[in-house]
Amino acid sequence: MSSATTTSEVSSVAPPRERAKLLLPAILFLLLALAPLAVTIGMPAGWLALLTRALIFAIAALSLDLILGVGGLVSFGHAAFLGIGAYVTGIMITEGRSEALVILPVILGVCALFGAITGAVCLRTRGVAFIMITLAFGQMVYFLAQALSAYGGDDGLTLYEKSTLLGFNPFANRTSFYYSVLIALAGAYLLVRGFVASRFGRVLRAARENPVRVSVTGFDVTKVRLVAYVISGMLAGLSGFFLANHTEFVSPAFMSWQRSGELIFMAVLGGVGSLHGAIIGAIAYLIAEDALSHLTEHWRVIFGPMIILFVLFTRGGIVGMLRKLGPRHG
């Protein structure tokens, strides 16, 4: 606390240091790049599958953080995009179109369209109404998937092969699949980070704090939020592509409201608005979930309160905690 005055004096003569903000993400991605080595030195192979799953959810949590943490919009229907990505993948593979470069543009297109239409409706509202309407749209997609009897309906759809990439099978091998997901996550992270730092991102950030000021400055706040919502949905669709390839199965449960809630938990657990926090949150969430579910079948009863307490006491999630532990800047 005593450093607050020094910090503001330092920052009044020089812009805040950008490099310090890069350190944590750099360490994070370095560790993730090295993680498969842990398997070669004796970690169980299932561990890499768990981490792959975590990184897939990290893409979704990261995309959510763009609208939740950066834009201040609490979407409770984000799993719909993840589900759409997974279902498009499942359906196209079932129909014999397994090439990723064919599937991905379809996913991005469908998610953009769904995001534009639902976003235009949701963004007419704010606060609790926004949460409820995003939830409603999410449930709509959930019930739609249940009704898709040609593709498994309620039971879900099993995939008998994975996607290919330019005719190769990078997703078939555990390690190369892991790296494919990691590359996608890194790409998504850099993209979102670039957005946040851009002129567009500045308006989105400013509108989270003071939309009235932003609109009397000449910006169409709703338009900016809608664009962010669409981009966010497209990235979540990308995570759905990997999730379908990972589980080799898609089901309506992928887009249940509980799943949307979990994505919010991940972002909040890591620390909203920092972007790498969402990644850390997703990894922590999935590892904790895995560990607790091995201990007891009632793990949710323990897990929920644990997260709430953690977020209450750390303020700013895991990233906020690391920042406090780290060296004082300035």
Partner: protein, 250 residues
């Protein structure tokens, strides 16, 4: 006299049975500083909201730079060069003073919503933003988050944010509200330095400031303009003295 930049004609607004703006007509010429005074609850802020597009009048027209802007929303009016400040300071607290101003510069830039340029290091935004901060005396505080500025500095920052829009007119809703004597004097000097360069509609309670700054004074009471004209004449108007100035003079 030059064609006014801002013309209000018969503007009306009611909240339920309460007529908050009761047929207001007034005009502000280019470079003119037009003060709008009146007791608390007279409807000054509500009028500023209607001029800036945050509220839609029930009736009447608002013309700005020769165009009927009554149907324009707030962002469209801002893009046409109508800037404003708020009675209750309104900045982006977590952004630095420089970024707050750069946001306004950005609004006027050729790619206001570009995805591809880093905004914070963009000199095309920062250079004009620094000039505006300089004009209000905040250059030393450029990198301080707006939320950490003193109250008077925040008021000055809001004026810099308005200047960043290269406006044709600025609406100032009680820019001296809650400011101490010393900072108040600095703000009055600042407004004086801007005088003649922008059309300004100044809502203000501080009579000293109003009569030091204004070219024209309009008095709003219960949503009606009861007097308008030269400050000295308005000050002498018996109706004004009774409705407003009298209570100040005690």
């Amino acid at each position: 006299m030059a064609e006014p930049v801002l013309i209000l004609d018969g503007v009306r607004k009611s909240f339920g049975a309460l007529k908050v703006t009761d047929g207001v007509s007034l005009a502000v010429a280019p470079g003119e500083l037009h003060a709008l005074i009146g007791p608390n609850g007279a409807g000054k802020t509500t009028l500023v909201h209607q001029i800036s597009g945050m509220l839609t009048p029930d009736d009447g027209t608002i013309r700005f730079r020769g165009q009927d802007v009554t149907a324009f929303n707030a962002e469209k009016r801002a893009r046409h060069g109508l800037a404003r400040t708020f009675q209750i300071t309104s900045t982006i607290a977590s952004l630095s003073a420089l970024e707050n101003v750069a946001l306004g510069v950005q609004a006027k830039a050729s790619h206001p919503l570009s995805f591809f340029r880093n905004a914070a290091s963009d000199e095309r935004l920062n250079r004009p933003a620094r000039a505006a901060l300089d004009a209000v005396g905040l250059s030393e505080r450029a990198h301080v988050p707006a939320g950490s500025l003193s109250h008077g500095e925040k008021r000055a920052l809001e004026i810099a944010m308005a200047l960043a829009l290269e406006p044709a007119a600025i609406l100032l809703d009680e820019p001296l509200a809650g400011v101490g004597k010393e900072e108040g004097e600095r703000l009055i000097a600042l407004l004086k330095s801007l005088k003649g360069r922008y059309a300004m509609l100044l809502v203000e309670h501080d009579m000293e400031a109003v009569f030091a700054l204004a070219d024209t004074v309009s008095v709003l009471v219960y949503g009606r303009v009861i007097a308008s004209g030269d400050p000295a004449v308005v000050r002498a108007d018996p109706a004004v003295r009774e409705a407003y100035l009298g209570e100040e003079g005690g």
